[in-house]
Symmetry: C2
Subunit: 672 residues, 2 copies
């Protein structure tokens, strides 16, 4: 098979969301998250750690009334990972210097990207005005030479690109490019895009294969895929080549981070995926977000350049990440040490990292894999990540967030066991390091781009997001009205409402988890359409379409009891419950404490029921089980006696809805 | 019950070990560990991290040919915990300064203490000569004013006692005092004892309740019990009062470490057990070694001063440590974060810390509890720690050591999972921070002091160590010949071989784990001896003793299957196997990989067998079990199917003998 683009995301403007499930989530992002985030960016939220993001841009752009000479002292930040906040001692007496993490600029970039998607879905003049003004502030900070990173503009331009490993300049650039392209595509306004192109030109002058140029590459990947996106909107091959340069340099010897930058502290090349050339990488390793951002960029590059070795590496890494190292919730990153992939099958439930951003990145990657190869397994993983870990990242009211998504929680452990301090039993307001909430905002508001991709004559439906989609087919306007009650109901209908007599294909994904499915299309004969068999997880409905044609997919949503590969030690003797794409979990609230003493009766029917959460009826499940009686004798260890059990009902709620009713125990895996 | 001394350890000189099991271990210490350690102390072992210990004493005592002015620069050590070695860059070009950990002096002190016990058991003129010369070197470093800690002597005396939290001066003093008292008791030589008394006097002048004195206390406890020991050998109440002062200050507000020393980094008062006054402490918390050293000192103080509140605290802490926070192997310290106690019932098997030194400290404490109250549970715990975690600390050849004693090991996890980097799948040669090996040496060579305690007319047998013991009873020489094949055989005989017609009591411990036991004494009637019932785990045989009297205790060593309190989440649905005091484990060597797939058939008989380890037949167990068939399908998660099993034999070896045949999986807990 030749490696090439087989489809690309549909444009957001061509999709009008009308989905009972997702409309709500997208409205939460539009009405709660985006406005709140803007307040955060401007340090106007009292209970949250200040961002300093817009303040840094203003200082860099000399828009603040100066109190002190700028950049008086170059202060090396006390750089640590999540949780560190470089807070000034006295918030009422700030100096005109850079505050916050070195990557604070990216807060703006993620926000503007989410704003762009939101505007594409929901034009909003007021929001657009705020965004334009924000862009003015950001652009004011840009230097004559095109450079645009406030940390170094404020602290001293002589130090730029001297710590690629830790200082995130190329990461900030990548996010800025993503945001600029999105804003341009949504609004047609190119001020930020042009600024980013100038910054990219500056970077291209600095880095490259020519002898005199720097041979570095990003310490935190994202620029790779952002440059491809910049290339695809500008058609300027310079950007594609720069991305390829960054990919090709990675893992070359001498190692850039340890041997060229010569950090005096330890460099873990696996952490940065710089341990070997990317085409030779087979195992997903290191910081999980970095990893999937890199793999996304690699997949883009393989698709555009037809690089078969690169594609082979992408497939190997996909297998490693999703076949050996993924939680049933679509979470990745088994260890909080480095927020990283652990060794194969090491998927602890209670100390999991499974960062929200990592699952978002996994969706980025899955979509890119689908753009090269329409294979259901990529969409299955994308769906699994979306409906579980990604959704769990945000509270039902859109006001608090999980960075870490454990599969088992005992609140006491989170409070008292340092090994689990990264695991929070309830969602947090907003961290100083704001990666997950804005990432969630940009993902959810651009969801149609993940659900649907297209080429000249084919529309691919990967996820069943309801709404109206229009598509140009040889100058004719095709249109489908898609109706879905996913994930609670397995019926999806695609009603053709476009111009008559359009010759095209509709590729409908059949979920990998569906052991039973039915696809029907009315008026087939009249319109000479054919159904393919299931090919790699897709059924292709092909022919001439006219108004009123309906394709219906039915996947009965049966409750499934799953067990893990026996090499996953944590889950031996345990099962997890799914219904459709949704993973369920036990919460103490609906059951009782000591969830580890519950056993599921696998032979009894699991019934549907409802549970009230946040004033809303939630589709839940009711299973029959047994609870082991507590043995709490005089001694810690006693002569073994066969356990005694009480019959119990086990209530299971969707995993993504957990922790919306205060602190309590939770467990996805249940003993059998 | 009045709190007072009810018995004290027998003198090592009064016990001649003749025990098939322990003789071997003690000989390993005498012939392997002590000589090797002396080479280590003198930096003559190429493959081990240099100690610099004797070198520091020589520099402090100006016994080294000077190359540079001493103490030219006061260098704050880059202080971290275990694993950090303050190695010079060029070992062939050392300067005349302090090298190693701040607590490096204590390497000598632990060595001299082990030497003392060894000499008490086995007079050895050559070893004594080496020891005397070492003492000369150490004493040469002592300052005019009595101060004796090479770190500050070399780096600048103006800084002494300025960082009690981290710099271990009082810890080093405590170890020096323990060593000095032991050496005096073994040899009658008082040079080191007198030096320590001068150092203690210096400390007593510096610290105390008087207004002008410093109100600090040790950051790492041990001085508390060492000062009691110094008091008991000198009868100088000053030392007892200083110990009491240190205990009383602990936990007082303002907090010394955070509020007086004002460290700019975070102080975790629980880590140092300085979070509340000792008499109010109820839960065993913080660094486990520090904790049990403190609790040992508290128990000494309660015993000597009759302080009932202190005794109450000791009993509460004992309950917390052993009822809620102890591994079945007698290990303590559920988390490697701070090498510390975790919250109650948090006893993870694979990430356990369970430091060898902590279990040794638990034995120190248990013996002290027994000196106040003859209660079997203290001896049970002492025995459980000794035969399992403590013994596991040393390889069967005495040449390598475990600091951390996990209950479940997968070698790949130790190599690839940072959360388990503290867990080693095989014993290590010798660390830069040499706490466990020398602690093992001093414990094992003084074992009779733990096995037997006495008062005027009673000999208590807590552990069944074979040998001859003599005891003065009102001027008469009582003597017992004790024969034991513990831990492999449950018969112990106490044959009276002393002067005739001695009126005394023999208190024989009945193990808590023995559900069946028989105690007989021959010629009872003739000698008018009475047997008490079992009182708190002891049977008192009382009366007039004459040559030939024999008391025999038989405790049939049945294999026991144990389960944990159901609040220990890690062990739900699992069992551990013990026989007598010995915990057994599965090793991959005798079984196969994937030990997590094994299940024990609890209804089948568990038979005795033998396994060859290190060229020796080891008593092992053979159980019937089942092994779950591997399910390694195309997907990581598959529809649940009832597991299939193959019948297997499960071989179990004593836990302490694991990891003597290379890297392999190990597990104490087995599913049922």
């Amino acid at each position: 098979m030749a490696v090439k683009t087989i489809s690309k995301s549909v444009k957001l403007q061509n999709f009008k969301v009308n989905d009972p499930f997702w409309k709500n989530e997208m409205e939460l992002v539009r009405k709660e998250v985006i406005p709140y985030q803007w307040e955060i960016l401007n340090d106007r939220v009292k209970e949250a750690a200040p961002s300093f993001c817009m303040r840094n841009f203003k200082i860099a752009g000399k828009l603040m009334k100066e109190k002190k000479e700028l950049g008086a002292a170059f202060e090396e930040p006390k750089y640590t990972f999540r949780g560190f906040e470089a807070l000034p001692e006295d918030m009422n007496n700030l100096e005109d210097k850079f505050y916050g993490f070195v990557f604070q600029d990216s807060d703006f970039s993620k926000w503007i990207e989410a704003v762009a998607y939101s505007l594409a879905n929901n034009p909003d003049a007021e929001l657009e005005k705020i965004a334009d003004e924000a862009i003015d502030i950001v652009c004011a900070a840009q230097q004559e030479n095109g450079y645009l990173d406030t940390y170094y503009i404020i602290n001293g331009m002589d130090k730029i690109f001297t710590n690629l490993r830790d200082h995130h300049e190329l990461y900030c650039f990548g996010h800025l490019a993503e945001g600029a392209v999105a804003y341009y595509e949504a609004t047609g306004k190119d001020k930020l895009l042009k600024a980013v192109m100038r910054f990219a030109d500056f970077i291209d002058n600095y880095f490259g294969a020519d002898e005199e140029k720097c041979k570095g590459y990003p310490g935190h990947e994202i620029a790779e895929m952002a440059l491809v996106r910049l290339y695809e909107v500008t058609n300027d091959e310079k950007y594609l080549n720069l991305s390829k340069f960054f990919l090709d340099e990675r893992g070359k010897k001498p190692y850039y981070f340890s041997e060229i930058e010569k950090h005096d502290n330890w460099t873990n090349h696996h952490y940065h995926q710089s341990h070997e050339p990317v085409r030779e990488q087979k195992e997903a390793v290191g910081h999980a977000v970095r990893a999937v951002y890199l793999y996304s960029g690699m997949t883009d590059m393989a698709r555009i350049t037809g690089d078969e070795k690169m594609w082979e590496a992408c497939k190997n890494l996909w297998k490693s990440a999703t076949r050996d190292k993924m939680y049933v919730t679509g979470g990745i990153g088994g260890t909080h040490m480095g927020e990283a992939f652990s060794y194969p099958f090491d998927l602890p439930n209670d100390t999991a990292y499974a960062e929200t951003c990592a699952s978002i990145g996994l969706m980025f990657w899955a979509k890119r894999m689908l753009e090269v190869e329409a294979k259901g397994e990529y969409a299955d993983v994308m769906e699994q990540a979306l409906y579980n870990t990604v959704l769990a990242g945000m509270a039902l009211d859109g006001k608090s967030f999980f960075y870490v998504n454990p599969l088992e929680v005992l609140p006491e452990a989170c409070h008292r066991d340092e090994r689990k301090f990264h695991v929070k039993p309830v969602r947090q307001k907003w961290f100083g390091c704001a990666c997950c909430p804005p990432n969630l905002a940009r993902l959810i508001s651009s969801l149609p781009a993940y659900a649907y991709t297209e080429n000249e004559d084919t529309l691919f439906a990967h996820l069943y997001v309801g709404g109206n989609i229009v598509k140009d087919v040889n100058g004719k306007k095709a249109e489908f009205e898609i109706t879905s009650e996913y994930p609670w109901n397995g019926n999806v209908s695609f009603k053709y409402v476009g111009e008559d007599n359009v010759n095209m294909k509709l590729a409908v994904r059949i979920p990998g988890w569906a052991d039973e499915w039915y696809l029907t299309s009315s008026r087939d004969d009249a319109n000479e359409k054919t159904h393919s068999d299931e090919i790699d997880g897709y059924v292709y409905v092909e022919g001439v379409w006219s108004k009123g044609d309906v394709v219906e997919l039915t996947t009965p949503l049966k409750t499934r009891i799953l067990s893990a590969d026996s090499r996953v030690r944590e889950n031996v003797g345990k099962v997890a419950i799914m219904r459709g794409p949704v993973v369920y979990c036990m919460e103490e609230n609906d059951n009782s404490k000591d969830l580890h003493l519950y056993k599921l009766c696998t032979e009894e029917e699991i019934k549907n029921c409802n549970v009230m959460i946040e004033g809303k009826q939630f589709p839940a499940l009711l299973a029959k089980g047994k609870k082991e009686r507590n043995v709490e004798g005089d001694l810690l260890y006693n002569n073994y006696q066969k356990a005694e059990y009480d019959d119990v009902d086990i209530t299971l709620i969707p995993y993504y809805a957990w922790a919306n009713r205060g602190e309590n125990e939770m467990s996805v895996w249940i003993r059998v």
